[in-house]
Symmetry: C2
Subunit: 216 residues, 2 copies
């Protein structure tokens, strides 16, 4: 049986099933994808897919979970580490954008298709997602507390804005594998910290200088 024992073959094939489903869902959307598509990408026949998933909807649920789970764990590690604020922010953005490049399909499916799941199957995902946002908020709160950021900052807004921006880039990253990830990461971080307006910085000797942190 396929119960949670350590059957190697099953685990391997189940992973393949989830990744095949992720791939097809990412490409065609949940409703646009057929179980036949998924099975074919996996190399089995349509009916056989039901050995791994009770239903197409359950497949979506597992893909979404797979897409966000590790990613949130990684976020938690960053948030609870003892790096300075700026490093945490950059690590967050790096994690977010790299996830798109490496595991892009399942994460994309989570972001774009999860609302086709019934309420009860979405509960766990909601939990993970808002845990993610809270971790990010906490990072901003820390930044404000330690004086790295203005103390007038709205941390909830900040978290949402960063997530939105990263997701926006995510779409581009998935579509265009030639994009320079590191370049985008740097520029995103710099934007969030400093904005685009020319910034004058106190130098050690007390004089002022233009801070050109990111000259292409």
């Amino acid at each position: 049986m396929a119960t949670g024992t350590d059957n190697n073959r099953y685990r391997h094939q189940k992973q393949l099933a989830i990744r095949s489903a992720a791939s097809v869902f990412a490409e065609k959307g949940f409703h646009g994808a057929s179980t036949k598509d998924i099975a074919e990408r996996m190399g089995i026949k349509q009916g056989s897919l039901y050995y791994y998933f009770k239903s197409k909807e359950e497949a979506l649920g597992e893909v979404c979970l797979f897409g966000i789970e590790e990613y949130v764990l990684h976020m938690k590690k960053i948030a609870t580490s003892d790096q300075p604020f700026e490093s945490k922010l950059m690590a967050t953005i790096t994690s977010h954008l790299s996830s798109y490049r490496e595991r892009n399909e399942a994460l994309k499916v989570h972001n774009d298709e999860r609302l086709y799941l019934p309420e009860d199957k979405r509960a766990k995902l909601k939990e993970l997602g808002s845990s993610y946002r809270q971790q990010l908020e906490a990072i901003f709160e820390e930044g404000a507390r330690t004086g790295a950021l203005r103390n007038s900052i709205d941390c909830h807004f900040a978290a949402q804005a960063v997530i939105g921006m990263c997701n926006g880039w995510g779409d581009n990253i998935v579509r265009d594998p030639d994009l320079d990830l590191f370049d985008i990461i740097q520029k995103c971080t710099d934007l969030v910290l400093n904005g685009f307006v020319e910034r004058r910085k106190k130098k050690r000797d007390g004089s002022e200088a233009v801070a050109t942190e990111n000259s292409q």
Copy 2:
């Protein structure tokens, strides 16, 4: 016939058809929506819908066009106006976010479902979309040229980042009609200009002061 004459009834019903399609596509996605759903929302029977659209796909095309057309026109007006840079940026963000609130469904469909259209039907949309991005890029270029922004700025990056951030908020705005749009607009503009780091500003008298432009 329904040819482009000034038939009032037809034009009215056609608008209704497009908005019904937009509504259903926004809710269920292109593939998740059926022509029956659309017809019912419009108040007619399934088969009658084909009087207005040659196919479901064509309906998607018209919804997407409807969703982005006016919006891009508005952007062009902003870009070619003679406001100062900061006003243009804020007007852009305002336009973007307000579009979501007012015409959210068709715009959401354009953003989320347009890639299910075949290449040829997407050509016009691509044109409009990249025209939009170019207008925004031009605004940033102007900002850099006039000294309002650092001259090291990557305008293509800037445009993409702002669009991504706005789209991210768009999803939230559609889902939660209680959000304070003006508040978000201000904070987004401030973020893009100044970032979250505490900023010191030359005051007229030459002394320095902390600029707290956005205190919740």
